[in-house]
Each structure stands twice: as structure tokens, then as C-alpha cells.
Symmetry: C2
Subunit: 402 residues, 2 copies
């Protein structure tokens, strides 16, 4: 018996070594990314056969890139240098505190860093991430504070005639206490799904930390899937997944705006929520910002708090151009008049000053000025990126339900 056990043990360890050697047991372990003592960061990749290895990510300055559609800001690209099959790049200066995303490009092909277990999916791609500690990196980190719960549930949408998946954050203590809580509906953009705000948005970490610091009140956060042609994230859907950004048939029987009532009904029937507009907030990024504007105007007297992140409020993804867009804007302005009469506590519009939608946002707020619709305008640097949306969430959440 002794021999058998030992032989099994040796086999077991040997196979662990063999299975894991790529990422965990590399002959000479690769550390990547390495956050150095001075907050410069070193990236490393073992790729002895590669001719050219680059890294791209939001830690590099964005660069104007010529495309057939015009000039756009794209993440920068840096080249790694090779020594004995290991490629390496160190940032020339310390990086400010932040959650950063990056990807290697090996001979023109994007690939993840096999040495970094931290990665986040964003619909069609997975990128590696790392956090440089400090402010705001610590806010996006899991800290030793009370944690809320993140549940993936399915609700029934009679309007869309289907079950749909939804992500719900309940604050620390929700399961044990008997209190009712205010509800914040938080909507993703065209490139996202019901996972987006939890994964790239770091909503659970941000809210756990803001609540622990007393900077935000405990609240329930509801993150639905805003693409009514899909009922869930890739791999969680009961049909062939239709990529979210443009393309593909959109055969949904109703829009996000028209089916939103099903979500509210589900939440108010299934959670201990405070009811009334003083206890409801809605915000969204990009397409979700347009949704938040349309829903807060289209469900009168429902929301006291509205956040529009990186989107022109007076626009819709369904009528982006031509006469339809003009008709939408005219009808929307009438709804804003009603929203103004009904009253609200905060209408917060945030945009980056290099965002490709920046001019559209300025056009929208000018129209709002003309009809005397009050709002708070927050302009940040940079553009249409998650870095900004995490900042906007961190600033918006403390202002609501106060």
C-alpha cells in the first residue's frame, strides 16, 4: 500500500507540473506585469519564435489614428525588446493609480498575457488587467470591507415574450436585515451586456468601498441586458448570440425603452425596495446613456436621479440619422418639458473632452438650455473609455438618495 500511495503522489505532482507549466510553473517563471517600486510597470512575454512583439493598452497615451471614417483616438502601441526569447517593455514613467487593460500583439495577432491570471471579457474580446494602487485604483480593488452580493437572475419580460438574464447587486447586510433600499438602474453601452458594469465597471468593488467609507448610501443596483435582440451574455443565452455592436439581424419585438417596465416590475416585486421617485435612480453609458435619458423622460415621475455618461441625451440608437433623428429630437424635447414640470433632483451629464460624441453632447445640452431644462454638466479628460465610466460611477453614486 505504501508504494502505491507514493507512486500516485509522484504522478499527481508530475502532472500538475506538466499541466501548469505554461502559466504557473514556467521553467524560469515570467512575472508580467510587474508593478515596480516606483510604479513603472514591466511587461514580459516568452516568445522565442516571434519576430515582433508589441503591447497595446490604455496605459499608453492614446494616438490619433487615420481610418476611412476619419481620425480617431486609439490606444497607443509600444514595442518590446527581446533577449534570449523573452520580450520585455518597461513604461518610461511611473503610471498614475488606475485599473489598466492591455493586450500583447505578436506578429500582428492579439493575444493575452499567459503570466497574468487577471482578465476581463468585454463582449468579443478578453483583455488582461492590472491595478496600480492609490487613488482611484484602491476604489476599484477588493478591500477588507463588508461585501455586497452579486446575483445573476432571470426575469420574465411579457413585453419581449421571453426570459432575460439580469445582474443585481444587493448591499452588504441585505440578506440578513429587514430594511428596504433605494434602487439604481445602471445601463451598459452598445458593446456590453448584463456583465459589463460588474466586470469592466467594477461596480461591486466601487459600491462596497463607497458604502464602507460612508460616501454612498446602501442601495440595490440593477444591471439589465440592454440589447433586446439578445437575452443574455454570450454563452448564457438560449439562442445563437448576436454580437452587440451593430451588425446582425435585430429581431427583438420591442426596444429596451419599451420593455423597461418589465424590469422595474420584477425588481419591485422581488426585492425589498423603497418605492417612489425619491428612491429611484437611472444612469447609463453611451447607448445606455441614451436609454437612461429616454426611459427617465418616457416613464414620467419615476426617477429623481438621472445620469447620462458619454452620450447625447437627445439621441437614440434606433434613429441615429436623417429625418427620423430630427423627429426623435423634437418629440424628446416635449417629453423633457414634462420631466421638468414633474421635477427631479439631479440630471447629471458627463462626457470626456476627446470623446467622439463630445460635440453631440454639447449640442444636446445647448438644446436643454434653450428650453430651461436644468442639469449638471461634468466634463472630464479623455474619451469613450471605461476609465471614464468608472470615474463617473464613483462620482454619481455618492450624489444620489441623499
Amino acid at each position: 500500500m505504501k508504494k502505491r500511495i507514493i507512486s500516485t503522489a509522484v504522478l499527481f505532482m508530475a502532472v500538475l507540473v506538466s499541466f501548469a507549466q505554461q502559466a504557473l510553473w514556467d521553467r524560469q517563471a515570467i512575472v508580467s506585469p510587474e508593478i515596480n517600486a516606483d510604479n513603472t510597470v514591466t511587461f514580459r512575454l516568452r516568445a522565442p519564435k516571434a519576430v515582433k512583439v508589441e503591447v497595446t493598452g490604455d496605459f499608453l497615451p492614446a494616438q490619433p489614428t487615420q481610418t476611412p471614417h476619419g481620425t480617431f483616438e486609439r490606444p497607443g502601441v509600444a514595442s518590446l525588446s527581446e533577449k534570449e526569447g523573452v520580450w520585455e517593455y518597461t513604461t518610461p514613467a511611473p503610471l498614475p493609480s488606475q485599473l489598466y487593460s492591455y493586450t500583447f500583439i505578436v506578429d500582428g495577432q492579439r493575444m493575452n498575457d499567459p503570466a497574468n491570471v487577471a482578465m476581463i471579457r468585454d463582449v468579443a474580446s478578453v483583455t488582461n488587467v492590472f491595478i496600480v494602487k492609490g487613488d482611484p485604483g484602491d476604489l476599484y480593488s477588493v478591500n477588507d470591507v463588508p461585501h455586497g452580493t452579486v446575483a445573476r437572475r432571470w426575469y420574465d419580460s411579457p413585453t419581449l415574450k421571453e426570459k432575460r438574464r439580469i445582474t443585481i447587486y444587493t448591499p452588504p447586510g441585505y440578506e440578513a436585515d429587514k430594511q428596504s433600499y433605494p434602487v439604481f438602474y445602471l445601463l451598459h453601452g452598445s458593446g456590453g451586456d448584463e456583465e459589463a458594469w460588474i466586470s469592466l465597471g467594477r461596480t461591486a468593488q466601487i459600491m462596497d468601498n463607497l458604502i464602507a467609507q460612508g460616501k454612498a448610501v446602501p442601495m440595490i443596483i440593477v444591471m439589465p441586458n440592454g440589447h433586446t435582440q439578445n437575452n443574455a451574455a454570450p454563452g448564457e443565452s438560449d439562442r445563437k448570440y448576436i454580437p452587440a455592436m451593430g451588425g446582425g439581424p435585430r429581431q427583438a419585438v420591442a426596444s429596451m425603452e419599451d420593455s423597461f417596465g418589465d424590469i422595474m416590475k420584477f425588481v419591485e416585486n422581488n426585492y425589498r425596495v423603497k418605492k417612489g421617485k425619491a428612491y429611484r435612480a437611472i444612469a447609463g453609458l453611451s447607448m445606455g446613456g441614451m436609454h437612461a435619458a429616454a426611459i427617465s423622460a418616457g416613464y414620467p415621475g419615476t426617477f429623481d436621479y438621472v445620469g447620462i455618461f458619454s452620450a447625447p441625451p437627445i439621441a437614440s440608437m434606433r434613429t441615429l440619422s436623417g429625418d427620423d433623428a430630427v423627429k426623435y429630437a423634437e418629440a424628446f424635447l416635449k417629453k423633457l418639458e414634462t420631466q421638468k414640470k414633474n421635477g427631479y433632483k439631479l440630471y447629471w451629464i458627463a462626457c470626456g473632452n476627446t470623446d467622439f460624441l463630445y460635440q453631440g453632447v454639447l449640442t444636446s445640452v445647448k438644446k436643454m438650455d434653450e428650453i430651461g431644462f436644468t442639469y449638471t454638466y461634468r466634463e472630464s479628460g479623455e474619451g469613450h473609455i471605461w476609465k471614464n465610466w468608472r470615474i463617473y460611477l464613483s462620482e454619481f453614486a455618492p450624489m444620489i438618495f441623499r
Copy 2:
């Protein structure tokens, strides 16, 4: 105003095109994998600069591979052929229904399929997945049936002196009804964490489908993190993540086995559960199978149902070799005597006949025979792979709480 709106719209669409072109809007869209009408599968990758493109995955026959530790079964590798920068491979025969994982290897570097949005993380790596419909593929798919809820919660472990994350599946209807449910503790292997059974294991899909078909009773499934040196999956932990398989300092103050009582206490205090051994099951794969054996023997009279998947029950990851392993086995056999006296309804041991632990499992069951400890032995083909663990879960869950 009209001009502005149109200009914003054009910009918006242009940027969507520009952002998404890699994966979603490729000039000539790449479809990969394509499941053909006859269930052959075609893989495609655009890589004009590559010299050699291969695909590896569990759809290819495993091949014996020589390593310094001996000969092991590894997933096969197939070469793609190139035409105008697009590489392609079609399986020579139809694939049986299954959930398959695969990865491209481009000039020696592993990379994900940029055309496939379905992917699953397994600790240190992300692989693409696809399902060939039929039996058992349909069981692993989201179907239009009532869905349970999957919650990521944090519980307090006084034994480990920390908060730990845990994944909990509650069956369809749990939130709305007042019933109590039996509890099934389901443990991951050395390479996993509290996400493993939900992601690669497809537990939510399997249980939703088995319950809808009346093949399993509604139950709560508790999936803790079995690595006591980590308190959560990568990116969800409040400390530097220690890769799970071997390596790295293990500074946990107590083992999974010794701290398991904290998990049971949390579940029984926070969920509507039926109490008593008739309503508790425990199972695990590989390291988790050893945990399930040790916990069911070490918490006498607690579990009527025990499942050991691809692991020798009479072994522990903590004492894999030498005199310690022999002492562990001797002490464990005494505990089995007690477990036998206390009684249980099902002790189910399953292993693949090419598993590297197969001989160890046979040694364990031989020892159990010698002391008259009854069990059910289920031998499958193939080895230490998720395909087998999904099968074992699908077979074990219907047998419990009956």
C-alpha cells in the same frame, strides 16, 4: 440642429465600425467555429503574417506525450492550412454532441479565437468553447426552461480569520416560495476556484435542465473556494492572487477540511435549507474529491450522499507522499469505519480509465473492499478532464435526495 444630429450619427456608426472591426465587422467576416450541417466543425483564423497555425482542444483525440515525468495524455494538435491569409481546418469526421474547448497556436503562441465570443476562464487561461447540439450538449446549454439564480456572496470564516467568496445556485422559484431545500456542496479541483463549477462545469445549465425534466429534485448547490490560501478567484481577491496549482507560499491558517464547518454554518443560517444528513450531499473533482472524502468522513453523520470524481478517496493533497501519506491513509480508514457504522445512502466513486489517478482510485477502492465499506463504482472512458466531470455531475445529481 438637423446637421448636428446627422453628423453625430455618422461619427457614432463609424466608430462602432472602427472599434469592432477586429471581431465583429471584419472586412470579410470570419465565421469560427462553424458547426456544419453534418456536425463536422470548421475553425478559421485570419493571420496573414503567421508561418504556422495549429488548433488544439478536447475535440481532437488525446495523444500520449512524453514528458520528463513520464508519458501523459495531452489534447491533440491539428494544423490549419492557409489561403489568402485565412487559415482553416475542418474536422475529418462529425463530432459527437458535447461542449468542447479549443485554442489556436500561432507560431508556437497560444491565442483565443477572435471570431468566437464564447469563452471560459480556468484559473490561468481562457479557452474558447462551442457546443455540438444533441445529448449531452443540450444538457449543457441554456434552454427555455425555468432558471435558478447564481449568486456570488461573501461569508465570514472565523477559522480562516477572513471573509471568503462563495458561489451559490438556488433552484428556480427559490426567491418566491417558502419551501426549504436540500443542499449539495460541490467542490472544485486543484486548478479551480469558486467559479469553476459554474463556468466550465455548467452547473447552472445542467441543474436547470435536470430539474425541468424532473430528473433531479430542486436543490441548493454551494460552490466554495477550496484553496484556503486564496479567498476568491483572480481579480476578486483582496490580496495578491496565488496561482492555485502548486507553487507559491501556502500560508493559510487552516485547511479546507478544517474550515468547512464555517461554510455549512453560513449556508444553514442564511438559506432555507432542510437539515439533517438525508438532506446534505457533498461531491468534488480531483482535489475536491479528496476534500469531499475527508469532509464526509471528518464530519460524522452529516452527509447521506458522497461523490468522489476522479480522485482516490484515501489520499490528501496535504500529505501526498512518504510516511505522512501512509499515516493519513491509516487514520482515514478508521474514520471510514465510523462512517460505515453511521450509515449513508450513496458513496459514488467515478473515474476515467485513462486518468492518471486511475490506479490510485483502484487502490483506494480495494482498501475499501477490505474493510467492507460499500460504494458504487462508475468507470468512464478518458481521463482527468471537464468533459468527464460534467458527465459525473449529470449522473450524480439525479441520484441524490430521493
